[in-house]
């Protein structure tokens, strides 16, 4: 960890600091704030305050207030809890499923391997957003549903990367050595092959957090993801859509938090890729 920090470029450090600041803000700001991000107070006096304004009770509103007089900064940070959790859980779980399928498929080969890759091809033939839309529309919306769909539609890229690596490693001398020492096939796979096959998958997972956050916000923007009053960046932007001309900050402010998150994930993923020296083009493809 410390070695990673010392060797990191300014770009990586910026990304890590931004992500930590967002995560800390999401955890602490709603808990410490003087205003309740969900309760509607004196809506007439407080509503539609522009960014950097101070209200009659001397509360400072960094990003202004929405049409119900709720503080947008506190709400955006509260939304960050859910959006970050869904993004990280969605990408990490999808990565875990992809690693398992890719490793076993690449190691064993055979019918199951071909079947898994065929299912992956089918899922890749439909834009991910379209599958998400259909599923989100058919099953009751919520965080669990969004994570489940992110996992079901997100494992294919990682599975392909890991499968390719595992197949390449299968014939390497150190693998044969381990087998010659009498290690069982599963031990060879998990202890010798897999640790050497994970680099591109880790890069894809880091980049995947950004796209998972984006997809979640898209679903919530359309009203098919996280449901109000629970704020998420997507449904906050949707809230401000009607007032985009009158009070543009309501829609644009949560987007800034969203962009910073996705940007940090992309920068971090790029830095990890440079460090782990995977095939740049292939890991980029796996993400889309």
């Amino acid at each position: 960890m410390i070695a990673f920090w010392r060797g990191a470029s300014g770009q990586t450090r910026t990304a890590v600091i931004m992500l930590l600041a967002l995560a800390l803000g999401a955890l602490l700001v709603p808990a410490l704030a003087s205003t309740d991000p969900l309760a509607i107070g004196d809506a007439l006096a407080l509503r539609l305050l522009p960014p950097f304004s101070v209200d009659a009770a001397h509360h400072f509103h960094l990003l202004g207030t929405d049409s119900f007089g709720r503080d947008l900064f506190v709400r955006a940070m509260l939304a960050g809890r859910l959006s970050l959790a869904v993004g990280i859980a969605g990408s990490a779980l999808a990565g875990a499923v992809g690693i398992a399928i890719g490793a076993i498929g690449g190691w064993e080969g055979g019918v199951l391997d071909r079947l898994a890759m065929a299912i992956g091809d089918v899922l890749l033939a439909i834009p991910r957003l379209v599958i998400l839309l259909v599923c989100a529309a058919l099953w009751p919306p919520g965080a669990t549903m969004v994570i489940t769909i992110l996992v079901l539609t997100g494992w294919m890229g990682v599975a392909r990367l890991v499968r390719g690596e595992v197949r390449g490693l299968r014939a390497r001398p150190f693998v044969e050595g381990a087998r010659a020492m009498g290690a069982s096939p599963s031990r060879v796979l998990w202890r010798h092959v897999l640790p050497n096959a994970l680099a591109p998958a880790i890069v894809a997972i880091a980049l995947g957090v950004g796209s998972a956050v984006l997809l979640e916000s898209g679903l919530s923007f359309l009203g098919l993801g996280i449901q109000p009053p629970q704020p998420s960046w997507g449904n906050m932007i949707a809230d401000g859509r009607e007032l985009i001309v009158l009070a543009p900050w309501i829609a644009l402010a949560p987007g800034v938090a969203l962009i910073l998150t996705v940007l940090s994930c992309t920068l971090l993923g790029d830095a990890l890729r440079a460090r782990l020296a995977g095939d740049e083009f292939e890991t980029m493809r796996a993400r889309s």
Partner: protein, 322 residues
């Protein structure tokens, strides 16, 4: 020739599996479309009659059989809401999406490749860093947020900033309901949607194109060409661009799903009655046949784009001819 037929067969099989998957996915979902369509006071026999008229009372296998037969005849069922055939509902929406998506895809590709090539050719320069910051940030922005920012900028913002009147652009719909309905009006309405889709797409493509150009420039025969004194322009055109063509074709196939996904949001925000907006409104109305139809259109486009890229690769890269 045989490999072309094989690729066609694989694409068709893939398309059929996607179709069937969507059919079963929609039928497996909880919630009965009949309860959405019938008036709340409808009696049980009336509900049963409605269900029978929509062919929802038969066993799943029978429904699938009938549906598959209809698909072969080119029929995708009847919209629950519009009471017209799905093909005619989609037929109204597809040209709008194709025009919007097609122009955006073309611009995405041209701008993305141009920006990425400039960055790759001048790697490490100040221009490269500035463009990297720009493309990475735009790439991180959701299309609906960009769309709303552009609306804020070119409606209210243009008026506030005192920009000339022609820069205050319409933010909703395809045509001006009151004014003239000529081509100029259509173009004015198209600027913001096309700009949104192009910005998002080009930022992504520029990132790929930069990587591809950087990798190509490091290859030994490019260094050889430079070392033997070939002018830079000639190196870029004859050695780099010619070898980048296969990559560019793959990029084109890769750009399509992104533009399609973006069009769902852009059509929704800007009120363009294309396939994306149709899909979203049909989802809320539980209009299953139209949801399946729109999914089919999207899958068909992606499969066709990939097939076209696969078939075109041997044309630009003799090594891929088998």
């Amino acid at each position: 020739m045989r490999s072309i037929l094989r690729q066609l067969a694989v694409a068709l099989a893939l398309f059929w599996v996607v179709l069937s998957l969507t059919f079963f996915l929609v039928r497996a979902a909880p919630g009965d479309p009949v309860t959405f369509l019938a008036p709340p006071a409808a009696s049980a026999p009336e509900l049963a009659r409605l269900r029978a008229s929509l062919d929802l009372d038969a066993p799943l296998a029978v429904q699938y059989g009938r549906w598959a037969r209809d698909v072969f005849k080119g029929k995708l069922g009847t919209s629950f809401v519009a009471h017209r055939s799905v093909t005619s509902v989609l037929g109204d929406a597809i040209p709008i999406s194709l025009a919007l998506g097609g122009i955006s895809l073309l611009l995405t590709f041209l701008i993305g490749v141009a920006v990425g090539s400039v960055q790759g050719a001048h790697r490490g320069s100040r221009t490269d860093s500035a463009l990297t910051v720009l493309t990475t940030t735009v790439y991180a922005a959701p299309s609906f947020w960009l769309a709303l920012s552009l609306i804020a900028l070119f409606t209210y913002g243009a008026a506030r900033l005192g920009l000339p009147a022609w820069m205050r652009l319409p933010a909703f719909g395809v045509r001006d309901p009151a004014g003239d309905s000529g081509l100029a009006d259509l173009v004015r309405h198209a600027i913001l949607p096309v700009l949104t889709l192009t910005l998002v797409g080009a930022a992504g493509i520029a990132r790929y194109a930069r990587t591809a150009v950087v990798e190509l420039l490091q290859l030994q025969w490019v260094r050889t060409a430079v070392a033997k004194g070939t002018p830079a322009r000639s190196v870029h055109a004859r050695h780099v661009l010619a070898n980048a063509l296969p990559t560019l074709l793959i990029l084109f196939a890769l750009a399509l799903p992104g533009v399609l996904a973006g069009s769902v949001f852009v059509e929704t925000v800007f009120g363009w009655p294309g396939v994306g907006r149709l899909m979203v409104s049909s989802i809320f109305a539980r209009d299953y046949p139209v949801v399946v139809g729109a999914t089919v259109v999207y899958a068909a486009l992606v499969i066709l784009a990939n097939l076209a890229a696969d078939l075109a690769l041997p044309l630009v890269d003799p090594r891929r001819r088998t």
